[in-house]
Amino acid sequence: MLIAEDEPSIVLSLEFLLQGAGYEVTTARDGTAALRMAESTRPDLIVLDIMLPLLDGFEVCRQIRANALLGHTRILMLTARGHQRAVEKSLTLGADAYMTKPFSTRELVLIINELLSSPAA
């Protein structure tokens, strides 16, 4: 499981939540790092912030979807904007789900569990 997020305290909370739910977690603080890490660790799921330094979440999402090796990887987009446009764009680029900041921690864990239990598209 990969967390791509640049806000240290949010990373900390996500790490705590996901490790608590039994997942193995790595983190990336910017877009290029996220791509690099995704290729090397081939995570089952990426929690992807949109407003990332260097390469934004949309672009990271697009490149992951273009990468055949990462076909099984689910993507959960996190957005602090909540614009309908951002949501639509995430989904057309191939994200599996999205959540708006601030999010409910329980809901986040639920959605992640659900995404990982359903068969890969």
Partner: protein, 921 residues
């Protein structure tokens, strides 16, 4: 070989071709597909200006006076530059009033005066006759010369009998026949002859090509180009003088008066008026003519000097008349085809002029001279005749023959005494007499009928006495003592030294006295008089022609008329069929089905009069219409009232126009304002979206950790405290952000409170350094200050300056995360400001980022792996504060080498804070 039969045959074939072109042109015009509706044909038709005078005479004049032939072409070129205004006005007036000749134009301007029209016609007939005789002379001379091919023999006039024994008479009569066929096949209300114009344009091409052909032959065939001719000519002493701008080319006055004469001639010669104004299809053609016509003149003049010099060198001893060089040079060189082509070119030049000139003259003779007289003669009972159109054609045809006979007689008696150019100039001088009445008439409302009549008569009489009669005397028709001793033996009245004026050439002499008399009488008498109602209304129509709509003529009429009378009247002059067609057309334009439904109102009367004016001239038309309708005469007061009303309407419409301009400007301003608003709106949306994002980020952590703490009561104390610490820190961040947003919005909207007092900047520096010393020592950053021992006090808000310093210092600390971090605060005094630099040795800022860091919510920290804590509003607020105190804030930096944030605070303007001007609201 060239036999007489060949020459005559070719000539007739050429004329036949002209007829074919004219016929085709007329057919196309009838079918509504005019071939002359293009500016190039228009320009070529204007070149009817270049007659055999140009074709043969220019070379003749160049042979005696070098470039003295040029003013005749300089004048039109200068005048063409004024056409866009003067000629445009004349064309517009003429179209609006259906004016068909220059006599009509002048008569119409001065209250539709029949007398004035008649006077102009008489002046023109007498004035133009020498000009027509010039063409006859040219044709006859060139014909005689080419008949003698291959010998070069000058024609000998001695022995030729008057009329039937003289070739020239037959030429004149043939020309009359052509003219009648070309110009008076039918009567047309507009006096327009499309076919004729097409033929004239064609002739202009032929004469230009013929002249250039000779020019090329002489320049490059007989000599080796321009340089060769001029070099060889310069070796002959007499010819050398020609090439200089010395006495030979004429004095300054001669140049000036010839230029002036030709400027007037290009507008007021009957044929020029005919082709430029009457035959004009589209006034936009004028725009092209303004530069193309001078170009034509230039083209036809290029080879004049080379031919003249070539002729002078070839025929030495003066045995050959220089006027014939164009033809005799090819003959002498045994070039039969070229000689024939030249002859045809000369024929083109001459016939074009004669045909258009006599058509224009015959129209005037008929409309302005004969018809007014005939209609007055009660014995003829013309008023009762049903159809006068046949009579019209007969009169015009008679007039054509009459004018050509006059031309022939002048040629016979006076022609030999003068060169071609001199004869032409006599006509130019006569035509120039119209200048005051016409130019005054379209620009000066006070010119009156009597003034125009007196001015024209005076000028004409002076011309007669100083130019025409001397030409008779020189040819022996009058006793030569007339020239040397004056009339009645009075020295002062010697026609070419009038009142002792000597030292001028005879043309300039005539021009001086005739213009003096003409303008003097016209202006003097006009000023002494009050114009009548009719004159006043016409003066307004003419002078304001470019401002008014063309239908305004009908406003100056009041009375009772019957439609039947009007139809019958028009029918008598145009023929009943054409009259009915015209009225049906009018009825249709008014939305009526039949003529019967028409009401004989002012508009219909005006329509009838303008149609009639096309056929018989405005003055006669006025008289005819007046005879069939019961008119109430309008007093001058009433006309003035109508004009006043009209000018009020005009003024009102100008106001409306101005208002609509203002409205348009206002609309544009609104549109711009709207764009600015949209832009502001977009900025506001961006701002809110960014603020929202910035608020959500700390909230996300707060919520996440709160939920974690709530859901996990079993967490150990260390973790619990760590998470709570994060919650507190993020809450502080949230508070800081909200405060800064509110602060910035207060400063930007001008609602912030400022507590200004006199402060010592050194103290502010010291206090701020003290405030951050804890933070700096925690991060291991060295902090140094440097300042002069004394700086002048400034007036500012101390707390705000502290805020600025703290912001810059904490920024500096943020970027100095290396072990050897170092920040220097430096205060210096500049000429009229204090300058503070905050220098760090941190990571630096890339040039691209330097421009945007002062924008709201820009955090350069985005490019760092470790994101600095900050709202992104600090620098925006700092800049607002500095600019509020009249200072400047900027940054110099390069990545990896640290940054320097600097700002200035003005020393003197401190007490008068300016409202920040850098932000637009």
């Amino acid at each position: 070989m060239l036999t007489g039969a060949t020459i005559v045959l070719v000539s007739f074939a050429y004329v036949g071709l002209l007829f074919a072109i004219a016929y085709y042109g007329d057919k196309r015009a009838d079918a509504g597909r005019s071939i002359i509706a293009n500016p190039y044909i228009y320009v070529l038709s204007l070149a009817v200006y270049c007659t055999s005078w140009t074709f043969y005479g220019s070379v003749g004049r160049a042979a005696t006076s070098g470039i003295g032939f040029l003013p005749i072409y300089l004048g039109p070129t200068l005048m063409a530059a004024l056409w866009w205004y003067v000629m445009l006005k004349i064309i517009r007036i003429s179209k609006a009033n259906r004016i068909t000749s220059i006599a009509d134009f002048i008569a119409s301007r001065y209250g539709k005066s029949q007398m004035l029209g008649g006077l102009v016609t008489i002046i023109l007939v007498i004035g133009i006759v020498p000009y027509i005789s010039l063409q006859l002379k040219a044709i006859s001379t060139s014909f005689s010369i080419i008949l003698k091919y291959p010998e070069v023999v000058m024609p000998d006039k001695a022995g030729a009998a008057l009329f039937l024994g003289d070739n020239t008479f037959y030429i004149a009569m043939l020309l009359a026949a052509f003219t009648i066929l070309f110009g008076t096949r039918h009567l047309d209300a507009t006096e327009r002859h499309e076919g004729l114009v097409a033929a004239i344009a064609f002739e202009s091409v032929v004469k230009l090509l013929a002249f250039i052909a000779v020019g090329l032959f002489v320049t490059f065939g007989m000599y080796n180009g321009f340089g060769d001719i001029f070099t060889r000519a310069a070796e002959v002493p007499q010819l050398y003088a020609l090439l200089m701008l010395g006495d030979a080319s004429g004095s300054y006055t001669t140049w000036a008066s010839f230029t002036f004469l030709s400027m007037m001639a290009i507008m007021f010669l009957p044929r020029q008026f005919q082709v430029t104004v009457v035959e004009n299809v589209n006034e936009r053609h004028l725009n092209k003519a303004i530069w193309l016509f001078p170009l034509y003149l230039f083209a036809i003049n290029i080879f004049v000097l080379p031919i003249a010099l070539g002729g002078l060198m070839h025929f030495q001893g003066g045995s050959v008349d220089a006027d014939t060089f164009v033809l005799t040079l090819p003959i002498a060189q045994q070039q039969p085809i070229l000689a024939l082509f030249v002859f045809i070119g000369g024929l083109s030049a001459a016939t074009g002029m004669v045909i258009v000139e006599t058509i224009a003259l015959s129209t005037m003779v008929c409309n302005d001279l004969i018809m007014p007289v005939l209609l007055r003669l009660k014995a003829l009972r013309l008023n009762e005749k049903i159809d006068l159109s046949g009579l019209f054609l007969a009169i015009r045809r008679g007039a054509i023959v009459f004018i050509l006979v006059l031309g022939y007689l002048y040629f016979y008696f006076a022609g030999e005494a003068y060169a071609l150019v001199s004869i032409g100039l006599i006509s130019f001088s006569a035509v120039a007499q119209f200048a005051p009445a016409i130019i005054g008439g379209i620009f000066w409302k006070s010119g009156t009928r009597t003034g125009a009549i007196c001015g024209l008569s005076a000028g004409f009489l002076v011309w007669l006495y100083t130019l025409l009669l001397p030409s008779f005397a020189k040819s022996g028709w009058l006793p030569i003592t007339f020239l040397s001793e004056g009339i009645f033996g009075l020295d002062l009245l010697r026609p070419q030294q009038l009142f002792g004026l000597s030292g001028l050439d005879d043309i300039s002499h005539c021009l001086f006295w005739s213009m003096l008399a003409n303008i003097g009488c016209y202006v003097g008498i006009s000023l002494l008089q009050k114009p009548s109602a009719a004159e006043h209304s016409q003066a307004n129509l003419f002078v304001d022609a470019l401002k008014q709509s063309s239908t305004s003529g009908s406003r100056f009429w009041r009375g009772i008329a019957s439609v039947d009378d009007l139809v019958a009247l028009l029918g008598r002059f145009l023929g009943p069929k054409r009259a009915r067609e015209a009225f049906t057309l009018y009825a249709r334009s008014r939305g009526e089905k039949t003529i019967k439904a028409l009401v004989a109102d002012a508009d219909l009367v005006h329509y009838t009069e303008s149609l009639l004016a096309g056929a018989i001239g405005s003055a006669s038309a006025r008289a005819m219409v007046a005879s069939v309708v019961d008119e109430e005469p309008l007093g001058i007061d009433e006309v003035m009232t109508i004009i006043d009303e009209a000018s009020q309407v005009l003024a009102y419409s100008r106001q409306l126009e101005q208002k609509s301009h203002e409205l348009e400007a206002a609309t544009n301003e609104l549109r711009d304002a709207n764009h600015r608003l949209q832009e502001l709106d977009r900025l506001k949306d961006d701002f809110i979206s960014t603020v929202t994002h910035e608020l959500r980020t700390p909230l996300t952590s707060i919520r996440a950790f709160s939920e974690i703490l709530s859901d996990n009561p079993q967490l150990d104390t260390g973790q619990r405290e760590k998470f709570l610490g994060i919650i507190i820190k993020e809450s502080e961040r949230l508070t800081r952000l909200i405060n800064q947003v509110l602060d910035l919005s207060k400063i930007e909207s001008g609602n912030a409170e400022w507590h200004s007092s006199e402060i010592d900047m050194r103290e502010v520096l010291d206090d701020s350094v003290t405030a951050v010393s804890q933070l700096f020592s925690e991060q291991n950053i060295a902090l140094e200050t440097s300042a002069p021992s004394v700086v002048p006090p400034i007036v500012a808000d101390r707390d705000r300056l502290m805020q600025v310093m703290l912001n810059l210092l904490s920024n500096a600390a943020k970027f100095c995360e290396r072990q050897d971090g170092r920040v220097i605060v430096r205060l210096t005094q500049e000429q009229d400001a204090l300058r503070i630099d905050v220098i760090d040795n941190g990571i630096g800022i890339s040039p691209g980022d330097q421009e945007v860091i002062f924008d709201k919510f820009r955090q350069v920290g985005d490019t760092l792996t470790q994101k600095p804590m900050g709202s992104g509003l600090g620098l925006a607020i700092t800049r607002e504060i500095i600019s509020h105190f009249g200072g400047k804030l900027w940054v110099t930096s390069s990545p990896g080498a640290g940054s320097t944030f600097s700002f200035t605070l003005p020393l003197r303007s401190g007490s008068k804070f300016q409202v920040p001007s850098s932000r637009s609201k």
